[in-house]
Each structure stands twice: as structure tokens, then as C-alpha cells.
Amino acid sequence: MIRPTFYGLEIAKTGLYMSQLGMDVTAHNIANVDTPGYTRQRVVTQSIDPFNALYRLKPLNTYKVGGGVELKILDQIRDEFLDWQFRNEQSDYSKWATRAQGLRYIEPLYDEFSGGGPLRVAITELFDAFSELSRNPSDREPREAARQAALTMIEAFQQTYSNLLVQRDVQNQAIKGTADAINDITEQIAMLNKTINNYEYENPMHMANDLRDKRNLLLDQLSALIDIKYEPANGYVNITTADGISLVNGLHVNKIEARLDEDPITKDANSYYRLFLVDTNSALPSETELTIKNVKGGELAGHLQLRDNDGASNPGVPYFMDRLNVLANAIAKEINAIHSMGYTFPGSENGVALDKSHNGVAFFEFDITKGICDANGNINFKLSEDILESVWNIACSDEPIDLDDPITAKGGNNRIALLLEELINSTTLDTIGNIFSFMTTVTVEVAGAIKHAASIADSLGANLLNIDNNRTSISGVSLDEEMTNMIKYQHSYDASARMVTAMDEMLETLINRMGVVGR
């Protein structure tokens, strides 16, 4: 049994090919050193067995050598567990980061230290005006000042409230935008599912590495938008929401539909996006509404919380709208209750004498169920018609005033004005207790909510960076390593080439120099 003549050349050739492949992969890695989501690839080789048939028939004392090197697999180095951890953490992180960012937009409304927060000062000025009124109940100027202060306060309320409405609408739009982005990503993933599946079916030994990178990157992005569960199957990746409702199933995508509906809080028609996840895959198409109850992570959860949560824990914009309504309601109600006990001053407006002194006049008008104002600028918190008609209708006196009668000419009676002024220190106001401790509480709630969200986002962000570092530690391209590999493959190529030369020389010897004795 003799060895095939060109066997050695063949072996050297596999070495050459493999070195070239290694060079290509190294070049590919280096080229993608900064590509987001790129996973380093590596050539896994294995040696070629000696021919089996020959091996079986091998005579004694005959050494059989392997046939060189061949590609086992061209794969990527990725840790699925770290991916899972990263995406899990990312959902949480982006929820809190979204919350912190959204709340920061409303922070200036409460931050009087930075020149915002007009409310506390405006309320203080109203009560300063009541104080002045108690000293001059029969003069026009302090009455004008009190009415002006009340108008300014209402304006401050309205300004704050309409800003909250705007921020809420920003969240509403963001919800729609996030839903669109989710749909976009799930659709791309479904398309990649198909391509990867086809490619890997056709090339069983080849992974669709670069396509998988793309899909993994999309999964990373998706996990920032909404909390998901996913599992790979047959080259596909199937995605569901945290509740198990399918988003992507193989090639099929269930889309999230954003439908306009009546706003549950402001009651405006067609201004509020409701999200429905429509499952068209099963025999019975079903739809599930996505709300703060079943979306727990991702930007979507953050936006939903900011738009819809009216509770005090992890409050959203509606909570602060509610606090403002409650405050306005308490001020209006308590001032009205006292003011309507008082009697108006029988003054005259533009030369026309007003009604004689009477009680039962309201100071403010406010219906808490309607809110302070709406998105169209209609204001529901305002001064009563009587006060708008004339400042003499501000009641300071607790008994009727009749300037024509010396007995009842009680122009100096300021008892009602005193009661109004003292409201600022009262601790038994409707729902709120004391005006300023309530305002302090709300301000601290805003500040606390932001700080809470921001610090959670910070620590999750650090975590996320850590996990991502672990991930890149495994999957990322190290230039030093690639350089080393380059030199390695360069040398192995050189060596294989030298082998070919050596083989060539051996064949030269065999063919041209042998059997020439006596020629």
C-alpha cells in the first residue's frame, strides 16, 4: 500500500485555505469592531481523519496521517444568559429612566427656587390681600387688590394645570410612538426569522451569524420599549409580552393598535390612545388592552404610568392634576363658605348704586369634577359673577351695611375678612388640612418621585453597563486579540505555503531526479 503522491500537497492546501478563512474572519471582526450588536466570530477547525477505507486495510507498521484541517463551524461567541439578563434589566431601566425624564418636565412647575412654581407665592399674596382688606374693609383699593390677587392665583393654578395637561398629552403621543416603534421592530424580527431559518436550513453547517446579530440587536431594542419574554426555536425567535400574549410567532406578527378614544380623566373625545394587542394568529382572533396593569417594563410602561397613574405610589401626571384640583377645590370651597356668610358693601359701580348689602355671595366658582381647565383653554376655576361685577360685592362684614342709616352703617366691620385671612393657618380645610403643608407635601412628592425614579434608573443603568461589559467581554472584538490572530494566521499561511514548496521540491526530486542513473 502506498501513499497517494499528492497527499501532502492536499494537506498543505487545507492549511492554506483555513489560514485564508481565518484571515477573512479576522478582517471581518476588525472591520466590525465598532458595529453595534456585532458579535465576534471565530473559525473552529478540526483535523481531517485519515481515509477510513485505507485505515481499515492498513498493513501492520504503516502509519496513517490525517488529511489536514477542515472547518468545523464558523460561529459567534455569545452568552445567551447574559443576553437575557441584559434585556430584563434594560426593560426595568428604561421604564424608570422614562419616568424620571417625564417627571423632570413637570418639576419646574413646582420649583419656585429656580423661578418656577408660581402657586405658593400667588396664594400667599391672596391672603396678604385679605389681611389688607381686614384693615380697610370700606375702601375700594384693597378690594381691587384682593380681586386682582385672586385672579393672579387662579391664573397660576390654570398655568400649572394646563402645563400638566400638555405634559400628559406628550406622554399620550409618546405611547403612540412607542407602540409604532414596537410594531416596527417586531415586524423586522419576523422578517429576520424567515431569512435566518431559510439560510440555516439551506446551509446546515453555517450559522447566519450577521443576521443573528441584527436580530439580537433588535431584541435589545425591543426590550427597552416593552418587557418581553422570548425563546429561540428552529432558527426562529418567538416573542411574547410578560403576560404571555404573543408578539412574534415564527413568521407571524401581532401588532399593537393605538385607537383614539375618550380621555377617562379630562373626558375629551378622541384624544386618548388606547393600545390593543390584536392576536390574529389563533383561530379566534382576540385582543388585549395594554394598560399599566399588564405592561410592567420598558418605555411603554413608563409612558403609561406617567399618563394614567393617579395613585400616590409611583405617581403619574394625573395624580398631580388631582392634587391641584383638590387644592383649588378646598380653597374655593372654604373661602366661599365663609364669604357667603358675609354681607356685601353697598357701593356703586360706574355711578350706578349696587344692590343693598346682602349675604350669600360666592367668591369662587369651581366644579372639581371638570378640573381647573381643559386642553382647549376653557377655565372652570374662576371668580364668581358677583365678584367680577363689582369689588364691592366682596363681603368683609358679618352684618348688613346700610350707609343711609347711622345704626347699620357698619362700614368698618371686618369680621369676615378676618376669618378669610385666618384660613391660611387653618389645619382643618376640606381634604387638604392646611394649605401650605399640603403644598409642601405635593412639592416634596414631585421632588421625591423624580429623585426616586432617577436614582433607581441610575443604579439600574450602572447594572446594565456592568452586564453589557460582561457581554462585550465575551462577544466584543478585541483589536489586540485580532492582531494576534492576524499574525497567527499569517504565520500559519506562510508555513502551509512553505509546506507546498517543500512538497514541490520532493516531487521534483521524485519526478526529475529519480531513475536517471547512467543517463
Partner: protein
């Protein structure tokens, strides 16, 4: 652990960013002088700061209130001082007059002086702070029957009674028998008619007659002359009768307008007595900025004004020395001690206000300190931290620059 390029870069960026945030935060604190740039930086300090600001605002309101109350009371004090001078002068005049040495002419001169004092009392009672009467309870504006200002204290021209906001002080006796009839009778006017002042009132009627409101009346006409007797004048009799009619009409109108019985008068008195104009001078603390008028002049026929009026008439009409001594000296002494008590009460309130002013000044310093503690940054500490943060930032920059630019590539030929 395998360290890759993107790891290096992202770690480096992250740390750089963290450092930059720190520097930026410190820089904001330095440039604004405040401990926190936004309320979310420090919710707890925000709370303290808001509480301090709220207290400062409250304090400012009370300080203003105390200042105004003081102004009102200073005005009242001046008036009380004036009245005290009136008492003193009246007392000296009475002592002076209560000797037989004085001639009726001297007494008339004294009467004229007392008349001036009497009018000054009325003016003082109607004294104002700004445009507000300060001794009339809630009636600070006066009343405007027929758009004519009537100050709270006024004197009825016919009867010489002192009125306050519909209460006849002269005729009212506190806690009097409720059945007591306060209606005006002819005798009330008749009594005055014999006096100098009454003839003045009759002159008033004559003036009204000139305006055709009541017929003219000649006080020198003796109505008892019979028709046909010498000196009988039909026109004068008619005029006299018209005067009597006009007087009766006046009495009827008067009684109709103020047809109050004793009980109603008592109720009105009690109401007027508690009409205090109060201001808040502290949380839950009110202070009366005016004086109860009754304490100043007294009530009943012996109130300061009516007493001086009577003294005037008595001096004018030559009442006996014992009468003047008996009637006025004790009264004046009693009333002056009452006035001194009022004066002491005023002084007490002023003292309290002074104490409040001082306390609020201290409170202002305290709360400003609280606010500053909550809001203001400690500059020395900040500058230290700032330069430390800058150092770290610089170190991060230079180390990053060294690590990132080199790789194996630089060493392969």
C-alpha cells in the same frame, strides 16, 4: 476577564460622563450659591426651605399687621391724650368758677371757654385714622342720609343730646329699666328753650323758616296777649302757633325715627360696645385696634360732652356756686380716673405690640437662618469638592487618552 475595545471605550465614556455630571452639579451650586439646582436634587431640603419660606411670608404679614395696628392705636392715644387735657382744663375751670368772687361776666367768659372744650370733645370723638373714624366701633365710614356725610358722633341741635350711631348717649342709661320711655317730650325742648342754646335752636328754626320750612318766630312776642289788646299782633300769633306746630312735628318725627324702648336701646348699646375692630397680629392672636367709645366719654346724662354742655349752660345762666361744686367736681374726677384706665389699657396694648415687633424681628432672623441652612451652599466646602472633582476629571481624561490611542496595531510593523 477578557477586556475588549468597546468595553474600554464605553467604560471610559461612562466614567467621564459621571465625572462631568459631578463637576456640572458642583459648578451649578457654585454659580447659583444654592445647595440644590432643582427640587428633586434634595427633597428634604426643599421641604425645610418651603416651610421656612411659608413662615417668613406669614411673618411679613403679621409684621405689617402689627405696624398698622400700632398706627391706629397711636392715633387713639393722641385722642385720649387730648381728652385728658380737656378734663384737666374743665376741672381747673370748675374749681376756678366755684367761688363767689367771680362775677357773672367772668362766668360767661368761662362758659365760652367750656363751650370750646365741649366742641373739642365732639371733634376728638370723631377723630379719624386716614378716612376712618376710630371711636365708633364698626361705623368707621359715618352715614350718608341723603348723600350728606354724618359722622358717627353728632349732636341734636334742638335737644343738645349726643348721639352715636343711632344711640342717644345722653338719654341712655346702661342697664336701665327696659320699660323706661325714651321718647322725646315737649319738656325736653322746653327745658332747653329757656337756655341760651335753645334760643340758638330757635334761631335755627327761624333759618329754616326763611327757607319756608317752618314759619318765622319772634321770641320776644308774648303769646298770652289777648286779641285786641295793645301789642297784639295777629301775624305774630300765627307765626308763634306755626312754631309750636313745627316743634311738635319735629318731636313726632324724632320719636318715630328713634322709637326704641329701653330694651332695644340696651341691645343696641351692647352691640355697639362689642364692635371692636380687630386685626390678626399673630397666629390665632387678634388685637383690638380701636377703643370702646363708651369708655372714653361715658354714658347717660353725665357723659363728658353733655356734662360740659350742662356746665356751659349753668355758667352762662349763673347757677349757684354750691350747685356747680356739687354737680361737676366729683363727676369730673370720676370720669378722669376712667379715662386714665383707658389710657393705661392703650399703653398695655402698645407694649404688647412692641414686644411682638421685637419677637417678630427675632423670628425673622431665625427663619431666614433656617431658609439659608436649607437652601444655601457652603462655598468653602463646594470649592474643595469642585477642585477635587476637576482633578478626577482631568485624570480620567489623560488616562483615557493614553489607553485609547494605543493598541497592538501601533507595534506591528
Amino acid at each position: 476577564m477578557r477586556v475588549t475595545n468597546s468595553m474600554l471605550v464605553s467604560n471610559f465614556l461612562h466614567n467621564l460622563n459621571t465625572n462631568m455630571n459631578k463637576v456640572s452639579k458642583l459648578q451649578t451650586q457654585l454659580s447659583s450659591g444654592r445647595k440644590f439646582a432643582s427640587i428633586s436634587d434634595d427633597p428634604v431640603s426643599t421641604m425645610y426651605s418651603m416651610q421656612a419660606r411659608f413662615r417668613l411670608d406669614n411673618l411679613a404679614r403679621y409684621q405689617e399687621s402689627v405696624k398698622m395696628t400700632k398706627s391706629w392705636l397711636t392715633q387713639a392715644e393722641t385722642s385720649v391724650f387730648d381728652l385728658n387735657e380737656v378734663y384737666k382744663s374743665a376741672y381747673e375751670t370748675v374749681i376756678d368758677a366755684a367761688t363767689d368772687i367771680k362775677t357773672p361776666e367772668d362766668r360767661r367768659i368761662m362758659a365760652a371757654y367750656i363751650g370750646q372744650l365741649r366742641d373739642h370733645v365732639l371733634q376728638t370723638l370723631n377723630s379719624t385714622f386716614g378716612n376712618k373714624y376710630i371711636f365708633a366701633g364698626f361705623n368707621t365710614t359715618g352715614s350718608y342720609p341723603g348723600n350728606q356725610l354724618e359722622p358717627p358722633y353728632k349732636v341734636d341741635q334742638l335737644t343738645g343730646d349726643l348721639w352715636l350711631s343711632g344711640l342717644n348717649i345722653t338719654r341712655y342709661v346702661p342697664n336701665y329699666d327696659p320699660a323706661y320711655d325714651l321718647t322725646l317730650t315737649r319738656a325736653d325742648i322746653g327745658y332747653n328753650a329757656i337756655k341760651e342754646k335753645a334760643s340758638m335752636n330757635v334761631r335755627l328754626l327761624a333759618e329754616k323758616a326763611a327757607q319756608k320750612l317752618v314759619p318765622a318766630y319772634d321770641p320776644t312776642y308774648n303769646s298770652s296777649l289777648l286779641m285786641g289788646e295793645a301789642g297784639f299782633d295777629k301775624d305774630k300769633l300765627n307765626a308763634y302757633n306755626d312754631y309750636i306746630d313745627a316743634r311738635d312735628q319735629y318731636i313726632d318725627d324724632y320719636n318715630e325715627d328713634f322709637a326704641l324702648n329701653g330694651a332695644e336701646y340696651q341691645a343696641l348699646f351692647e352691640k355697639l360696645e362689642v364692635e371692636q375692630i380687630e386685626f390678626w397680629v399673630g397666629t390665632g392672636t387678634k388685637m383690638d385696634a380701636v377703643l370702646s367709645s363708651f369708655g372714653l366719654v361715658g354714658t347717660g346724662p353725665e357723659n363728658l360732652y353733655s356734662m360740659l354742655d350742662n356746665l356751659y349752660n349753668d355758667l352762662m345762666h349763673g347757677q349757684s356756686v354750691p350747685h356747680i361744686q356739687n354737680a361737676y367736681i366729683t363727676q369730673l374726677q370720676n370720669m378722669q380716673s376712667g379715662l386714665l384706665a383707658k389710657s393705661a389699657e392703650l399703653g398695655g396694648r402698645m407694649n404688647r405690640l412692641d414686644m411682638l415687633t421685637n419677637r417678630y424681628e427675632m423670628d425673622f432672623i431665625n427663619y431666614t437662618q433656617l431658609k439659608s441652612d436649607a437652601e444655601d451652599a457652603d462655598l468653602a466646602e463646594l470649592i474643595m469638592n469642585f477642585s477635587m472633582a476637576m482633578n478626577v476629571y482631568n485624570a480620567a481624561l489623560s488616562s483615557g487618552a493614553m489607553v485609547i490611542q494605543k493598541s497592538l496595531v501601533d507595534f506591528i510593523r
